[in-house]
Subunit: 326 residues, 2 copies
Amino acid sequence: MVTIKDVAQDAGVAVGTVSKVINGQHVSEKNRKKVEDSIRKLGYQINYYAKGFKMQKTFTAAVIVPDVRNPFFSEWVYYLEQAFFRHGYKIFLCNTQEDGEKEEYYFKMAVQNKVDGIVCISYQEKETPVSEMVPVISLDRHFEQRISCICSDNYHGGELAAMKMIEGGSRELVYIRSGSMISGETLKRGIGFADYCKKKKIHCRELFLGEEKESIQKRRKLYEKEIRDFVKQHTRKGKPDFDGIYTSTDWLGGIVLSVLSSQGISIPDQVQLVGHDGLLDQASGEYILSTIVQPVKELAEKSVELLLEKMKGTEIEPITMLPVTF
Amino acid sequence: MVTIKDVAQDAGVAVGTVSKVINGQHVSEKNRKKVEDSIRKLGYQINYYAKGFKMQKTFTAAVIVPDVRNPFFSEWVYYLEQAFFRHGYKIFLCNTQEDGEKEEYYFKMAVQNKVDGIVCISYQEKETPVSEMVPVISLDRHFEQRISCICSDNYHGGELAAMKMIEGGSRELVYIRSGSMISGETLKRGIGFADYCKKKKIHCRELFLGEEKESIQKRRKLYEKEIRDFVKQHTRKGKPDFDGIYTSTDWLGGIVLSVLSSQGISIPDQVQLVGHDGLLDQASGEYILSTIVQPVKELAEKSVELLLEKMKGTEIEPITMLPVTF
């Protein structure tokens, strides 16, 4: 049986340092790495049960997302798991399929299984009552009471998209968004975009594609049709009356891309296109399109950090915002 | 507090039927759906702790994958979670990053947290000792002793790829594969391919890209270079001396696609290209390339079914194979 002393000896640090790493307390990056390497090398097993008993903790967290197949969410889950792992936590993965009932079921399951905290992407209108019982961090959605929100700077993302296209020569802009999948913070993308256009006296329209009630496959078809109709309606003799499109997500951007291509409209010569998220194409490993990049890894790491603080009872800001890049 | 009786009443079935659904026993699909709908509707909470105590079960399973960001694995995890959910199970998600030590750490963690079973994609050479203590199902990798393997029909996948390209007119085939990420079952893709070519007296070469020791980003660059060198070496005046390529994964197929395009070689006119896995492009929702499709959803559902059988102590086949399609 490998003990904490063996780890300390192998890592060449004090027993207290190992203990700090295990308890998620601050030590230097160098020492943390040494200790983590030794823990892995020796196969040291933290006795979570004994430990949990003493500390009233289970070292588990629940990660609630709509659908891990969405590449943005799978990156999000991956980096959360890595960050939790470094702090000795395991995660329950829950896919809600954007179903409010299933989401609430998972919130309750998490509490019943005595998780120490929850990180969620919530589709609910109201804050879950579970947040009274366990610390919760929410991505992109700000609730009024106990849940803390983390997000990237959506407003500035919208501004950046407008700025880049105006610099690139666009004068007739369109913002395309779908019904507020996650209302709240992401709406600010469009507001930042519109505000910047107004400031620069550039004309800007919005195409709103309706609520996201259907399955993702059906939605794609619906949106594709709506976008095609819009493009056709605004194109005369192969010339569109707009020259820049910003979409609220890269996924939507991908649909716009294929519609414009099929209509023989060239990008970026005739129309500049900017998405939002920073998804990478699986085949090429490059961005699908010009995009406002959310710092997914940093968002995940910060979420775990905030959650651990919250578990300790520290008051944290209702909203924590990280910067985006073009 | 919602009870099992409330669920039975709402669903219009007997209490025994609800109990069977909760315990993962067989009931008709119709009744299962009714019960599941009522459980969700009423927010019925199975008392796992009391139940677990009585049954010596925790209703948790561990899902161990290399990296959930890989779209094949994220689909796999998604469908596993759905299937486990239907049986009242929660899952721990573990990303090993193809690191044997981390994988073993997670196996031990799973046992320590008293999971009822594990579904893994293992990169280890040897069977984990953990399999003595808890039922384990492995995707695509067949171990000798206690772990049961599930896979799709890789050999026939290789045959199908060869058949389709030969039917399409190809006479000089190349099989490109990377170092056995998961040795064992996936190697049969190349064997099925070569066997079919031999039977049809079609010439067939193999390009082996070496071991997967680097990070995925580095690997992409290395493989891209190797493939480009191969293509250049085998192309004279814009004419390649091969007219069909089969890759062991769609991910590799994507790299081949971009190399061929950059060399001005047209697909499928000059060279037919077939991948393996059945990945969908995020932007278009269509297959990235012609491909041998693995039935991911069915593989996941079957894995959970087999694991539940194994938990009950039922002997199951060492390998279970599901069909592939083109």
